[in-house]
């Protein structure tokens, strides 16, 4: 059974410029012990969608349902949410360096976090904090626990954040771009730690990133978002080798060493849409080289891609296109070679 089942999630904000519909009918599931990767360009609604699951977005209008352990997160009381946050659902935010308080030792912050949820004696909490720092491979944890955040490097602070999010053994960890601000070598350390911890504790992870390389490394299942919607959802290998949606194709084609030649890359033409505006039935219409009449008339449902029932795509192209696709015939390359800049 799924650990988390999100169905038709909508999130909007009332702003001075009008209503921003940031998330527009998103559905996905997370299985216990698995990693769900969410990819998409900046502004596609990744953070808003996942933060609204923990009800941490201020001023947002949220509809839909998100069943977690028999409880609908979107309709639970604030009291129930306070019990779940941290305890059952751990979180690591996009902006890591600001998430630790500079004036308290790392140990104090982990201990307080544990004691806010469990009535354990200080000594036991401290012992647990040391174990957690060990778990995320902070060398010499027993001594480092009394250091302040500034005495740690960026990568170590991020590992401390993982330790804190894991402190109460949550069933689900939401990690929003946990490695984006880090160097590749440090990123590799942090991802490794996350995977090891997952193997140890069986925690499910939602990993938000815009880096398809990170997705290829660690995700079991992948959700591709665009303009607040799910364009495609599949297991990792299908997303990279048998994708169906043109947006997924465009993302992969843009990567150096992928669709393009050595001299020229293959970008997606144009820019992502404003979420204030009314979008085409398929939000990718203005940038899609495969667009045809129907795309402008009817909303493509997120439907199974033949022959794989667990592989879903929201596009009107033939359901078995994924099986026949070849990079040589990608339309992104064709328009990019004819387009003048």
């Amino acid at each position: 059974m799924a650990l988390l089942e999100v169905d038709d999630l909508h999130v909007s904000f009332d702003t001075a410029d009008g209503v921003v519909r940031a998330v527009r009918g998103v559905s996905f599931t997370v299985e216990p012990g698995q990693t769900l990767g969410i990819v998409g360009e900046s502004g596609s609604g990744k953070s808003v969608a996942t933060q609204s699951l923990t009800r941490l977005v201020a001023g947002a209008k949220i509809t839909g349902s998100a069943m977690f352990d028999g409880l609908d997160l979107l309709h639970a009381s604030q009291r129930e949410m306070r019990r779940i946050r941290g305890r059952r659902i751990g979180m690591i935010f996009q902006d890591p360096l600001s998430s630790l308080h500079p004036c308290y030792t790392v140990g104090w912050q982990i201990i307080e976090m544990i004691r806010a949820h469990e009535s354990v004696p200080r000594r036991r909490a401290r012992q647990r904090a040391i174990e957690l720092l060990d778990l995320v491979r902070i060398p010499n944890a027993r001594a480092r626990i009394d250091d302040f955040p500034h005495q740690f490097s960026g990568g170590m602070r991020q590992r401390v954040m993982i330790a804190m999010a894991m402190a109460l053994n949550p069933a689900l960890l939401i990690a929003d771009e946990p490695t984006t601000a880090l160097d590749v070598t440090v990123q590799a350390q942090v991802l490794k730690v996350m995977q090891d911890v997952q193997a140890d504790t069986g925690t499910a992870i939602i990993l938000i990133t815009h880096d398809l390389g990170v997705i290829a490394d660690v995700a079991d299942e992948v959700v591709v978002m665009y303009a607040g919607q799910v364009m495609e959802r599949a297991r990792r290998r299908e997303i990279f080798y048998q994708f169906h949606h043109p947006y997924t194709e465009g993302l992969l084609a843009s990567l150096p060493g992928h669709g393009g030649t050595r001299d020229r890359l293959t970008p997606i033409p144009g820019n992502p849409p404003s979420l204030l505006a009314k979008l085409d039935p398929c939000p990718f219409v203005p940038r899609c080289p495969y667009v045809f009449d129907k795309c402008r008339r009817e909303v493509p449902p997120l439907a199974p891609v033949h022959p794989d029932e667990r592989h879903l795509s929201a596009c009107w192209l033939e359901p078995d296109r994924a099986l026949q696709f070849e990079w040589e015939s990608s339309k992104f390359a064709q328009i990019s070679s004819t387009a003048h800049r």
Binding site: T185, A188, L255, T266, P267, N271
Partner: protein, 357 residues
């Protein structure tokens, strides 16, 4: 060889910018007790940029890439060392003397949001270089600016708009247009696409490639993204803690990797290909980047290097061809890697030692 061919070869290898043993130290407030400390941001770098090439400069955050770039363009005064641009020593050139250099050497910065003044119209931002260098009549400037806008794929009718009205990729194009205004020979690009989404990043990289062909530009291209640098560069220089540790043609950096740090860096790069990701050898470096205030002795990489031996902490290895490499592949390492050699990850003991540094 025909004379035409000879000329082509000569122009490829000709040095446009020569950097010799350049150092840049910053004074900072020290720890308790010591009132003064120095950050050795760039600590003895020797490097050539050849006419018409793209030289990629990679390395982790804080290793000194931007500082080196700012020394090259003389936005910074040097602590010591020499910079020769087109056979002219500019190491000590005065602000006034630098005016002509600036015309020929431009910079593009990382942040397409922060580097443009939000209260000025794009037209005047792009036209700045004309005004600063008093080039052309004021009345002709609009036409020139609109030509530039066209060139970088911006709509010339948006001349009077403000930066906020453009997307990230478009704002980066504004930066490119401004850099191109004076038809420079060389452009130093400091993380020009790092803040952009992949699909937009590809647009801007294509633009830079096209402009290079059209105007025979030379690029120094700084980035921490190895897949980008592999795509754009003819040669790559790898920096670690204020030093260049390896320089080679792009394919050699990837196929004949010599420096253990380069090897570790390459192995940490996430590849967007699940099968490759599952099967490749990954070296997870232990420890953290040491402080440039008090860099390790000898080879600066030695506390994190799986191959380190006693000599590494004692003697600094010179940047020279190793293991029979051609002159154009230089490495600073006492124990360079053979092709196919695997780098066994460091032990736990190793990582603890590092953290005590």
């Amino acid at each position: 060889m025909t004379s035409e061919q000879t000329e082509a070869v000569a122009s490829v290898d000709e040095t446009l910018l020569h950097v010799e043993d350049v150092r840049k130290y910053f004074r900072v407030r020290g720890h308790a007790g010591s009132s003064r400390a120095e950050v050795r941001a760039v600590d003895g770098v020797t490097l050539d940029v050849r006419r018409g090439e793209t030289l990629g400069l990679v390395g982790e955050t804080g290793c000194g890439k931007s500082t080196l770039a700012r020394c090259m363009t003389r936005l910074y005064d040097l602590t010591s060392g020499k910079i020769v641009f087109q056979d002219r020593d500019i190491s000590r050139a005065s602000r006034h003397d630098l005016r002509t250099v600036r015309r020929e050497m431009q910079m593009i910065f990382q942040d397409p949001y922060g580097s443009l003044n939000p209260r000025r119209r794009v037209g005047s931002i792009i036209g700045d270089p004309f005004a600063i260098h008093r080039i052309g009549e004021r009345k002709d400037r609009k036409g020139k600016v609109q030509e530039l806008m066209q060139l970088v794929g911006l709509n010339p009718e948006h001349y009077n708009r403000f930066p906020a009205e453009f997307s990230g990729g478009q704002r980066q194009r504004i930066g490119v247009a401004r850099a191109l205004a004076l038809r420079p020979r060389m452009i130093v690009c400091d993380e020009p696409v790092s803040a952009l989404d992949v699909s937009i990043q590809a647009q801007v990289l294509n633009l830079l490639t096209d402009l290079q062909d059209e105007f025979h530009l030379t690029y120094l291209f700084i980035t921490h993204d190895l897949s980008v640098v592999r795509h754009v560069s003819d040669r790559i220089a790898v920096m670690y803690l204020g030093k260049v540790v390896e320089v080679a043609p792009t394919d050699d950096i990837f196929n004949t990797t010599r420096h253990p740090y380069t090897k570790a860096l390459l192995s940490a790069l996430p590849v967007p290909d699940p099968d490759a990701a599952d099967s490749r050898e990954r070296i997870v470096l232990t420890g953290d980047l040491p402080s440039p205030i008090n860099p390790p002795s000898g080879c600066r990489f030695h506390p994190r290097c799986p191959k380190a031996q006693e000599i590494c902490s004692r003697e600094e290895p010179p940047l020279v061809p190793v293991l029979g490499d051609h002159n154009n592949h230089v490495t600073a390492c006492h124990f360079p890697m053979e092709v196919g050699e695997s780098l066994t990850p460091g032990t736990v003991a190793n990582s603890e030692r590092v953290n005590e540094l």
